[in-house]
């Protein structure tokens, strides 16, 4: 493994007693005190995550929106200005390069936030598709730090620090100032709760992080983030999404706007090709984990768990599983093989936990 990167908040995490682990090429805090406490802080109160390892690209110029729209499957062109739009980034064959959020900052100015492990891959991919678009594409991942303030009390905690902060709509974005320094604020997150993601230069974000902690916000690590996103059934690249599946295989059909005039992957994706189906499974006994086999009533293996954990909120084993469509059981009987023992799993239609986002 090559040298691991550290975010500008690394020393803060160490000072707080955070347990540091390698993640996507970075040394990141997996937890500070307890995963349970951190999850509950976000669900009931407010927590903050350092997600500076994630990547920020900027597209500037006349064709900024058109280029972003061409790259991704979701509709960027018709989305209102100052909106954030979640989308997969697909290849011509429909497979997923990454999933990301496109932020329409202003006319001719778009920011894209991508997964840390895919920064180089995504940037090279996007660059290779830029011909014919009148705009620049810049990778500013090293210039930006990013924190996510999440939980029902997010607005209450952020307001005193950012006097210009208005009560923004969910999934909207604005450019404003924090203590005189420019920041980009989006009412987005990865927990299902109300909250804000704040992009800014390193020192600006460090100051904000410290002020939020002083205001009583709980620092939260990657383990809590993973439980939180799984409880509300948000996919994670490398688990539910990867280079071998398309959005239909991963429960993301809602992000494919096949009626768009042109976008990469349109020819394949407009036919809704799906080999797999992503299902939500809940277990009364046993904890499902990534890679465990999923079986039907006849004990045939029909799929794999892509992410699994013990839910803090409902206190049950929960999982997302990739099932072969042709083997999806009509009787909806699912079992999970946990250490060679079969545990029955209940098919759930709605997310395990309902987040309180606006």
């Amino acid at each position: 493994m090559s040298q691991l990167f550290r975010t500008q908040l690394f020393d803060e995490h160490v000072k707080l007693g955070g347990k540091i682990v390698p993640f996507a090429g970075w040394e990141m805090p997996v937890q500070y005190t307890s995963v349970k406490d951190e999850v509950l802080a976000v669900r009931n109160n407010v927590g903050v995550f350092d997600v500076s390892h994630m990547g920020e690209f900027f597209i500037d110029g006349k064709d900024a929106e058109a280029f972003a729209d061409y790259l991704v499957t979701n509709d960027i062109l018709n989305a209102p200005m100052r909106k954030a739009i979640y989308s997969p980034l697909c290849r011509e064959d429909g497979t997923i390069v990454d999933d990301l959020i496109v932020y329409k900052l202003a006319t001719g100015r778009v920011m894209i936030c991508v997964n840390a492990s895919n920064i180089e891959k995504d940037f090279a991919w996007m660059k290779s598709k830029q011909a014919g678009f009148e705009c620049s594409l810049t990778n500013l991942s090293n210039v930006f730090s990013l924190i996510a303030l999440q939980g029902p009390k997010s607005f209450e905690k952020l307001r005193p620090l950012l006097t210009e902060l208005s009560d923004m709509e969910y999934y909207s974005v604005c450019e404003t100032f924090a203590g005189g320094a420019p920041v980009i604020i989006a009412r987005t997150g990865y927990t299902g709760e109300d909250g804000f993601e704040i992009f800014g230069h390193h020192q600006t974000i460090k100051d904000l992080w410290q002020k939020l902690l002083m205001a009583g916000v709980t620092p939260c690590g990657l383990a809590a983030r993973d439980v939180l996103r799984l409880e509300v059934c948000y996919p994670l690249y490398g688990h539910e999404l990867n280079d071998d599946v398309n959005p239909y295989d991963a429960g993301l059909s809602w992000t494919v706007k096949a009626q768009k005039a042109k976008f990469i992957g349109k020819e394949v994706l407009q036919n809704k090709p799906a080999k797999y189906k992503l299902v939500k499974l809940q277990l009364d006994k046993g904890i499902p984990r990534e890679g465990y086999h999923v079986l039907n009533a006849n004990n045939e293996v029909i799929g794999l768990i892509t992410s699994g954990t013990m839910s803090v909120v409902i206190n049950k084993g929960i999982a997302l599983a990739r099932i072969q469509i042709d083997k999806a059981p009509k009787d909806e009987v699912f079992m999970v093989d946990i250490r060679n023992k079969l545990y029955s799993a209940q098919l759930i239609k709605k997310p395990f936990v309902t987040g309180g986002h606006k």
């Binding site: 307890s34 995963v35 349970k36 383990a223 993973d226 439980v227 904890i287 013990m310």
Partner: protein
């Protein structure tokens, strides 16, 4: 990291503690182990009457984020299991040495000589961390 290592117990490199009383060995996981695991949410141990072999897996402890096997410190028969801890696994986080998992009737008492003293275990934790 919390690392409380009582002097009256013996230890394994897999981070189990043992209390030896005659030919009965009580087994649990150490404070180091519970702290490394984080919030423990599931414990599975064998039924009373099961035969264990020294060094082989006899159960699992799961935290929210990971699964860890339990390794038997000695060979012998399981004569008791702690249903209380199976029902409330978070007790291990609160009191690792008060939360025993199983009691084993040892077949071969010489196996006990292979276990680490508190001092040796402390050294092992320092060097592996």
């Amino acid at each position: 990291m919390a690392n409380n290592i009582p002097a009256n117990l013996k230890y394994t490199k897999e981070h189990e503690w043992t209390l030896i009383e005659g030919n009965t060995v009580t087994v649990g996981i150490t404070d180091f182990a519970q702290s490394a695991l984080g919030d423990i949410v599931f414990v599975e141990v064998p039924e009373v009457g099961s035969d264990l072999k020294e060094g082989s897996t006899f159960g699992v402890v799961e935290s929210i984020k990971s699964v860890s096997d339990l390794y038997s410190p000695v060979s012998g028969e399981v004569i008791a299991k702690n249903s209380d801890v199976e029902g409330s696994p978070e007790k291990i986080n609160k009191d690792a040495y008060g939360s025993w998992l199983i009691k084993v009737k040892v077949k071969d008492l010489t196996e006990i000589n292979k276990l680490l003293s508190a001092e040796q275990y402390q050294e092992f934790c320092n060097s592996s961390h």
